[in-house]
Amino acid sequence: MSETTTNELLRVDAIVQNLQDLDATEYGTEALSMTQATFSDIAL
């Protein structure tokens, strides 16, 4: 397995942790379940 592949697999682990951390917040589950995309800066 290449170094790049190993690094990317580790990155997936970090992404999973991100999701779990987000899900644990008050708004997380609702945000993750939304079907509409949000913008990277707030819609006024």
Binding site: L19, E30, S33, M34, T35, T38, S40, A43
Partner: protein
């Protein structure tokens, strides 16, 4: 999406995670879109390291249309008030409202102590930008690519403005990248992967303040190719957002 037996190990791992997210949040959820986008970043990274990685190349060919379909199908929330207007076409140029900017964003911009950085060459770009991280970008009215020099996790950009989330006082918004003219040809999020030897750009038009229409995709593609010394338009993935009326 089915996973074939010869699937790349990163693709297989993403499929596992995506299945779990589908079960918990739903098949049309932003969680699943987020994972597809992250998988695209991974596949571009693999391809940048090994241009003969056909599994990564093939998977990119599946991911790009799949992500765009999800953005189109999910739609976007209409803004409560509109503070931008189109001031030119061919190419499209969008201007943010000066009074609104001065009132809401001039002070926060000063508080950051930062300013947008123009990208003008792959080596300089890879110095300014961490490979794989997400950045806010704007293409100014002259076609130059500017980025806000602070990396974000993709999750923070995708879910950072989710309803109910606390809003940071100093949160950067796209007009802050072009404070002098407040005009853009495109604006959104950008990820660069690779090395001085081989690089790719993944971008979108997710600016809530400028709301760039689909045709602005050509502008960020052109600006990214020029800024990162890319010869092939296929080296830049660009995702557009539907208009609220079409949602």
């Amino acid at each position: 999406m089915p996973v074939r037996s010869e699937t790349h190990p990163v693709v297989a791992r993403f499929a596992q995670v995506r299945d779990a997210a589908t079960a918990r949040y739903g098949p049309d959820s932003q969680a699943v879109s987020f994972l597809l986008y992250e998988e695209l970043i991974s596949m571009r990274t693999v391809l940048a390291a090994d241009s003969s990685a056909t599994a990564a190349h093939d998977r990119i060919g599946e991911l790009v249309p799949a992500i765009q379909r999800r953005f189109d199908a999910g739609g976007v929330v209409a803004p409560q008030r509109v503070f931008h207007r189109t001031v030119a076409t061919h190419p499209t140029v969008i201007e943010f409202d000066r009074d609104c900017f001065e009132q809401r964003y001039r002070r926060p911009l000063g508080a950051t102590g930062l300013h947008a950085v123009r990208i003008h060459g792959r080596r300089q770009g890879l110095t300014v930008l961490s490979a794989g991280a997400s950045y806010l970008y704007a293409v100014d009215e002259d076609g130059a690519l500017w980025v806000w020099p602070r990396p974000h996790r993709l999750a923070d950009l995708m879910f950072g403005w989710a309803p109910g989330r606390p809003v940071e006082e100093t949160r950067v918004v796209h007009p802050m990248l072009v404070p002098d003219r407040l005009r853009v040809r495109a604006a959104g999020e950008l990820v660069v992967v690779g090395s001085p030897g081989s690089a790719y750009v993944i971008a979108n038009l997710k600016s809530g303040h400028f709301r760039p229409p689909r045709e602005c995709a050509d502008e960020i593609r052109r600006a990214a190719m020029r800024a990162m010394d890319l010869d092939d338009p296929c080296d830049v993935d660009v995702f557009t957002m539907p208009s609220p009326a079409a949602a």
